[in-house]
Symmetry: C2
Subunit: 332 residues, 2 copies
């Protein structure tokens, strides 16, 4: 009883003498420079969380969706999942002597990614299926975990999970602290993301929407497994994003965050709902600290989306201007 009394009094004292105003005034987005982009986020969150306001949104409906490649982590010099696939091709090559002369594998094994991808979508699909299918879901999870633990980004030489965007980590945390449920909605493979995004972004597997291949339920040695088949199930990009959101979340987001034309339909779908809505594009404008690309890039092209964002008044983050720092390791 004495201990309980002590805790009760301590709580009482904290309430009486604590300074809640001070806690509230701490900047929730310290890696964002002050400006229109940062202010638009803070204004939106304040508006939808204010009890009694006409713009108040109940917590259950505070769904926020984030693209991954180029929005939460970089996508240059090429999508990281493609780098994973290339690494896998090299690891699997001893079991596939025929790859020495068969495209797109032959080029990959000569480190000529450009030539390998000259085969376009068909070549990419072949690389993905050869490296992402033919094992159980548990085996694939282990492969991804092992790769993400040891692989290094080609130019920064850092683990991929260390070059996520610090300002976006703060944004995710800020939204969750305000009752939002944060989802990833990516064109990337759902099973490539789930093994690490909970640890890195605080987003649990059930809040990841992505592209997928088909699986088959089988009993191996008396134990049920799901075998990954070399067949596309769903491509969660462009107009696939609203479909993926609808299938898996079943509720229209009130806020959506992307960086390319592949996110445009997600932003359209989000902002077309009734009540307060928020759409944001990360614009890669920082050739020194990250990369600068938009309308003409083959990866993460932002062209139609940039026009529509300007026309609709969506928030556009100018990485160079709006982000005080890019990666967590720059914080000191």
């Amino acid at each position: 009883m004495k201990r309980t009394l002590f805790i009760a009094l301590a709580m009482g004292l904290a309430l009486v003498f604590g300074d809640p105003a001070k806690a509230q005034s701490a900047d929730p987005l310290p890696s964002w420079n002050g400006g229109e982009a940062k202010q638009s986020i803070i204004d939106f969150v304040a508006k939808v969380t204010k009890q009694g306001s006409p713009d108040f949104v109940p917590p259950a409906e505070r769904i926020a969706t984030f693209d991954n490649d180029g929005t939460l982590w970089p996508e240059q010099p090429m999508y990281f999942q493609l780098i994973f696939a290339v690494d896998r091709v090299k690891e699997l090559a001893p079991q596939h002597p025929e790859w020495k002369t068969k495209e797109p594998f032959a080029s990959l094994l000569r480190d000529d990614v450009k030539a390998a991808l000259a085969g376009g979508k068909q070549a990419i699909l072949e690389i993905l299926m050869a490296t992402h299918a033919g094992m159980t879901t548990e085996e694939f999870e282990k492969i991804v975990k092992a790769w993400i633990a040891k692989a290094k980004h080609p130019t920064s030489k850092r683990p991929y999970t260390e070059i996520v965007y610090q300002p976006m980590l703060e944004l995710l945390a800020y939204l969750r602290a305000n009752g939002f449920k944060t989802f990833i909605v990516s064109g990337g493979g759902i099973e490539f993301m789930r093994p690490w995004v909970e640890r890195v972004y605080g987003i649990p597997p059930e809040q990841v929407v992505g592209s997928s291949i088909k699986t088959k339920y089988e009993i191996h040695d008396g134990k049920p497994v799901l075998v990954r088949l070399p067949e596309l199930n769903f491509f969660n990009d462009k107009d696939g994003k609203p479909i993926g959101i609808h299938t898996q979340i079943g509720r229209r987001p009130i806020a959506a965050f992307g960086n390319s034309d592949g996110d445009l339909q997600m932003l359209q779908w989000t902002t077309a709902g009734q009540g307060p809505r928020f759409a944001l594009y990360v614009h890669h404008t920082d050739a020194e600290r990250e990369w600068a690309y938009d309308r003409k890039s083959s990866i993460g092209r932002l062209d139609k989306g940039l026009d529509e964002a300007q026309a609709e008044g969506w928030t556009i983050v100018d990485m160079k201007q709006d982000w005080r720092l890019i990666y967590p390791h720059e914080m000191k």
Copy 2:
């Protein structure tokens, strides 16, 4: 300051003089008769929530999946979604004069459901596509909401949402109070459930896994919509259930609840994981208060599942013995 002080002191007093032991001893499952089934649930929850125990499961991994038809609400004299479809056929008939002579619609319009379903899976698929496709997702949601608000079950004459199983509502609440995340994993249509399950079961749309048809993103009058197409996307039954769970949740449940052979693979998949696992079958044994059926029923057949449950020592709920009451309206 005075008001804050008062709240602080009241909290202190509540902590000092409140009786937490009393709250803990209240029966969390009052509509369950004491017995093996009830005890097995309570033992499992106690085990996985006990800090420091070797069986402790962190809250993030406390995933529990529930079948719907026959597990959370009845499925007799036929699946309620099929009754919805029959009602829709009658409503749409004036726009389809050809249905007067075209099966399976002609039989349905003569109230001869049995004859209509004589066409087997093909007939059911035709009925479903004629009634579930050809509108936007928002329009379909309105149709379902309107039906569920006014339709009455043919024998009980009550709204369908009033004949959900009270013992299962208590079980859902009990699990959630112990940090579980509860999901529906049903063979029924995902869009047929989402409009009402949050209100009735406390399960939000993003925690519903079910069967679906394909949708297409289109712009209508400058506004993006998802149009429902007459083409099956995914059938979430039997070996589809582990696949649906893996695709949408991405994490293996630690507890699963079903009532038929259609749930067997979900229960196998759940119990095959490492660490403490729980599987439960609701066995329909109460012809007086509900229905009695199992091995030979065409709806909700429980045959192989019953054998496996007995062999594996899964919990089998004998509705007649284990449930003090069936529906919420029996509570007084």
